[in-house]
């Protein structure tokens, strides 16, 4: 059976949901960040797959994927910076304990 668009989309969905599950359940902030990266990757797969199968000559999906990567990079940079900043103060990266924003 030849591989088609659906395959990629299903794979993307599976990866996305694994990432989602991880992001929701994990207490370690770094792991949460990793799961978010996973989700972004899943989205990228579907973007590229659409680009390949729906508009094979336009590449718009790939351009989008590049932008998603830029966003992902920015997100990781800032996210880890925040984690480290919090960690420095609290010696702890347990997301459920970070309640500085509560009042």
């Amino acid at each position: 059976m030849s591989v088609g668009l659906e395959h990629y989309l299903v794979l993307s969905a599976v990866l996305f949901c694994i990432g989602l599950y991880g992001a929701l359940t994990k207490r370690n902030a770094v792991i949460i960040l990793m799961c978010i990266e996973l989700m972004l990757n899943a989205v990228n797969i579907s973007l590229v797959a659409f680009s390949r199968y729906v508009v094979p000559t336009l590449l718009t999906g790939q351009v989008f994927a590049i932008f998603v990567m830029v966003v992902a990079a920015a997100e990781v940079a800032v996210g880890l910076a925040i984690i480290l900043a919090i960690y420095r103060g609290l010696t702890d990266i347990d997301a459920s304990n970070i309640n500085l924003m509560k009042w």
Binding site: M69, V70, A73, A77, L84
Partner: protein, 123 residues
Amino acid sequence: MLANYGLIGLFFIIVALFSLSMPIIPIVLRYLKIVPSHPGPVKNSTFECGVETIGKTWVQFNFHYYFYALVFLAIDVLVVFLYPWAVQLRQLGLFSFFAVLVLVFIVVIGYVYAWKKKVLEWK
């Protein structure tokens, strides 16, 4: 084009097998008693100039390394844009040149900021 990547993929399989076999051969030879193996508590302990390690070995590190990685990440993303531009510069012409100039300029602001804030200095 995919044929080429097929070659690369197949080559990767060979390389993976080859490099995996390298640590595996001694293990096989060990069962043939050609490679000696006499593990012991001292032999398998950490080497630290002949004395016992003080404290734990997985230490939590100083994060000045992090800033370099940070700036690196940002600029790495920039480079992604530079490559297609570099290939096509002759066709794209002056417009793209200025586009990239602006692009680089924007990111360089961040770099200069990092320099000025002494982030690039090792402390």
